[in-house]
Amino acid sequence: MKTVPALPAGGPSATVRRRATAPFGAAVAAAAAVGRLVVQPRMGFPDVPGMQAGLQAVHAADATTVGTITLDSYTRVGDHASARKALDDGSDLNGFPIVAHGAGTTRRMIGAVGASADFAIQVRHGSPLPLGIVQALLDAGLDATEGGPVSYCLPYSRTPLARAVDAWADSCELLADQVEGAHLESFGGCMLGQLCPPGLLVALSLLEGIFFRQHGLRSVSLSYAQGTSFGQDVDAIGALRRLAGEFLGDLQWHVVLYTYMGVFPRTPAGALSLLRDSAVLAAVTGTERMIVKTPAEAHRIPTVADNIQALEEAARSAEAAAGLSPGLLGLDAGTARGDNPVYAEARALVDAVLHLDADVGKALLQAFAKGYLDVPYCLHADNAQRSRSGIAPDGTLQWLSVGSMPLPPLNAASGTGAQRLRADDFLDMLSYVQRRYDDAALEELPTDTPRTPLPTSLAKD
């Protein structure tokens, strides 16, 4: 079933290039206007038949969907020769090599999906130097991608941040020039996938959104990855929405939630329960779009069937939770609208960074050099590496050390900084979510009782 209203494939007449798909930003806005959560896979296969079949299945899924072309790691690091060789040898790749295939092949594939009028597609990569990828996706008739100068550099490369800032500025301008209403999503709400406290995630996502606008984009999304605590996640999304309204109100914008991006439950039941919780989180917070994870996550690249199951499961959970509000879940409504500690922390970071320079790119560079922004556990040479975080007894993510970030100093009691972290404790901390959901899944005997609208793990929160 396709529920996104049909939108003109060609877009407005000012468009320099003709889209081969529905406009991404407008498709999400149209779904939001009728109260539907857009669900999206993380999906990429090396060969055209596989990728095409995946896109067709996502289009046909029983959910309001947009499609994804996830690129492989060779393309991400600019090693197109290795991608080409793998295609020639028939080796497995972890995504679709859009540059090695060439724009003509990709355009024909999208044409063959046969959904140009009502199906939007986004290219997801992870490249600090994305100009070639942006060129390839534009040539193929696509209008949407994701990333950002910080979020696609620090977790994805050893490329100097200054080079990524320049390359992303050029890429934003190319995208904005070539397609009216081209859409760009910040990946700032994910930073390394786990253990980054939400204040920093929200700040980075917003700062990248401001960077996108400075370089000409008019349609953006800000991201946030599900964390370790439902209540803290509600606060974070409220904070992100409030900041987006304050700083990007003149743009077409929406929020995209990622189902948990860290070490995933190994059991199918645990994985699906975590997925359902993320869909409930999206529904309760008015999030417009969500990117799912599948029960294959802990083990291997998901198949088409894994992705369709996850998309439909997420859509059903979001529908079941549609009537729920933060208030009904016992959460304070003002807090959920952004009057909360995550907002205060994010706002302090954003203000400090924006004061450094009128140019956001330069401000970001200075902020990392001074340690005003400092991503915990990130080994990148341009990251100060003085901040530390951990999971508090109440399940929330908290700072153990803020390094030089302009945040209130922590009280001495929580700082056990002198001790070394043991490998087993490190793994324990990384697998907190995995353990919680797998343990709950293993405790439950398989029964045929109908699924309750509220997932078990949430009810226990």
Binding site: R76, S91, N94, Y156, R158, V263, R300, P393, G415, A423
Partner: protein, 172 residues
Amino acid sequence: MYPPAPTGDALPDARQGGGQRVLVSSVSSDSHTWNLVFLQLMLEELGHEVINIGSCVPDDLLIAECRRTSPDMVVISSVNGHGHLDGRRLIARLRAEPDLSALPVVIGGKLGTRGAQNRAHGPELIAAGFDAVFEDTAGVAPFRRYLEDAARPVLESAGPARPALAATGDPR
């Protein structure tokens, strides 16, 4: 429940206490780093000195770092699914360098994109020149045993160096 900083300074003089100098690295296309931090912590706890050169390491940089730091062992980790491709290429490069052809080099992680079927990559990686292959989480215990064995003096052994090992988690 609040753990402190993961990457403390390397323990000094690890080599004098029977520890080895271990170079930890990812492969050229892989940007995952949690695996590298974990391996560093584990190796340091076992008394080794660790030089962690991070993710997305081009073959040339790895070779230069091997020469610069003269490690006793190189530990390659990759989880993005390209490890079997990048690993085969990089070990061929390394083994072609006369001064590095005998350096102990092992690889581990999620080396393909097919979950349990990734074990099939073990033999081909050994054939390409790795001294041992450790598949994912199940490979951690065999790796610890491998390190213990490697720490014992092997000078008196007459035949070829230590036998190649493809650890799949099966007891062997």
